[in-house]
Symmetry: C2
Amino acid sequence: MTESLFIAGDWGTTNLRLYLCQQKPSQPLTILETQVGPGVSQINGDFEQIFFDLAGDWLEEYGLMPVILSGMVGSNIGWQTAPYIDCPASAEQIVRGRTAFQARDIEFSIISGLKTLNPLGTPDLMRGEELQLLGWMRTATGPEADMAQLVVLPGTHNKWALVKGGKIETFVTALTGELYALLQNHSVLIGNTESADFSADIFLQGVKVATTLEPGQLLQALFATRSRQVTGELSELYASSYLSGLLIGSDVVGSLALMEKRMDGISSVDLIGDSALSHCYQLALESVGVKAELRDATQIALSGYQAVYEALQPSLHNS
Amino acid sequence: MTESLFIAGDWGTTNLRLYLCQQKPSQPLTILETQVGPGVSQINGDFEQIFFDLAGDWLEEYGLMPVILSGMVGSNIGWQTAPYIDCPASAEQIVRGRTAFQARDIEFSIISGLKTLNPLGTPDLMRGEELQLLGWMRTATGPEADMAQLVVLPGTHNKWALVKGGKIETFVTALTGELYALLQNHSVLIGNTESADFSADIFLQGVKVATTLEPGQLLQALFATRSRQVTGELSELYASSYLSGLLIGSDVVGSLALMEKRMDGISSVDLIGDSALSHCYQLALESVGVKAELRDATQIALSGYQAVYEALQPSLHNS
């Protein structure tokens, strides 16, 4: 067993990304090599074979080492079903809640998802983002760690997580990213996208409209994305920017209001996700007076794997 | 020229429906025959050929007669571009605003669309539904005709039209139907739909949630359609009913609020559209205390064509 090495894997619906990580005492984590492979939805249950095909050379060269996986690999269409842990959940509870098993003498850990009753009063779920939150909590130190903080994870299913006193208190998911992709690719709202360009001004027009809507008026505002093009008010080139502004603006307004019920005002949030998308959320948040800091998503994720790896060490020593 | 006969045609994006109509004095309009053909999006500009292929036998048997067409046939991808008329628009203005042309000695009329600045403050458009509204206005008589009334035309792009004193004052369009179809067929919210069934109870659960949302919270409520299934709260069989309730409920809440700004309270609306869909709107409207009457969409449309046909008569006599 090579104690300073482990394999971390983000095994989502459409992609697998494996990292060969080295953890030396008092030093930041280093990625030695990476491998990419097929996502959970593209595999016929042959997880073990695919993993060892991709990681085989590493194991041969460096010897046995633990593997920590996150994402849909722990869902009911994954390798092993890792149950959802209830919020509030501390970093320690998430680490402890992992699903451990052995394959070809390797110790595998799949991180559990989280579940909560969100501030809307409905059940809510995450699987994959808890790894980022684990990493985020590891980096939050000092007095701030005890204060309620809002962490936003922009993506297909955008998550707003409330973290307080080292625990993920609750979170809410918005369909923003998936809905944008559907409307962008399949609706009458967006025509030819070949020459489309992003305009921050037009994006912010959409955000502004979203902030003025009363309940139930997103569907009407969405249709205006088309009629504004027909009447010449909005260029076809920037229709996507406007649509994105409407949806992200709506998400921001609605989610901040939900989370404010659980916090004493929200003056700043941290953003963890794809940088272009996070930048859009930053624009929208700052336009409503909330400071937003973009965090490095890969670094945060690695901190998450590191947290699990360090917790594994005693059990590895014992085994 | 056979004066009591004319051809009415609803030529939309995906379908063409031609009616051979007979109008005898003091009698209701009769449909003698119907023909169906391809929609505007399925034709390579060959409108004349397709029309005469379908209607040729009628013209041969009964002689020349006027043709009145509505729908996307008047758009910029149609046969002739019939411009949008500004609201407020009276029945007379709509009839007068038709685009007239001749082909093979036949007098064609394509009905114009309508445009407005809707109560949301954005430009809005309709093309096709104005024919229904023309028919609806023809059937509205007595003192009611002068009162502000709300007419809802459920469909892919649901329209809420405010009619007052014989004029279509304004209208607003919601993306409800198109968004439902996209989410139903392409999103993570709905799985296997083969055994799906409609449940009015579950639909009304969705409506109720929609009526309690604050601004910007539809995206979060939509995601709950999935998480409620994963946690077992909502059966996969009825997920579509719930989704439909959320969307139609949201449309109803938001559109009623928009229209209330222009009317002295809304106690009842008329619904013109597909009967299953109209029934859903009726359930949602009645759950928020608004009486909703389902009108026969085909009869209403025929009244609309009749209004145009009668107005054509003097010019036909003169020619």
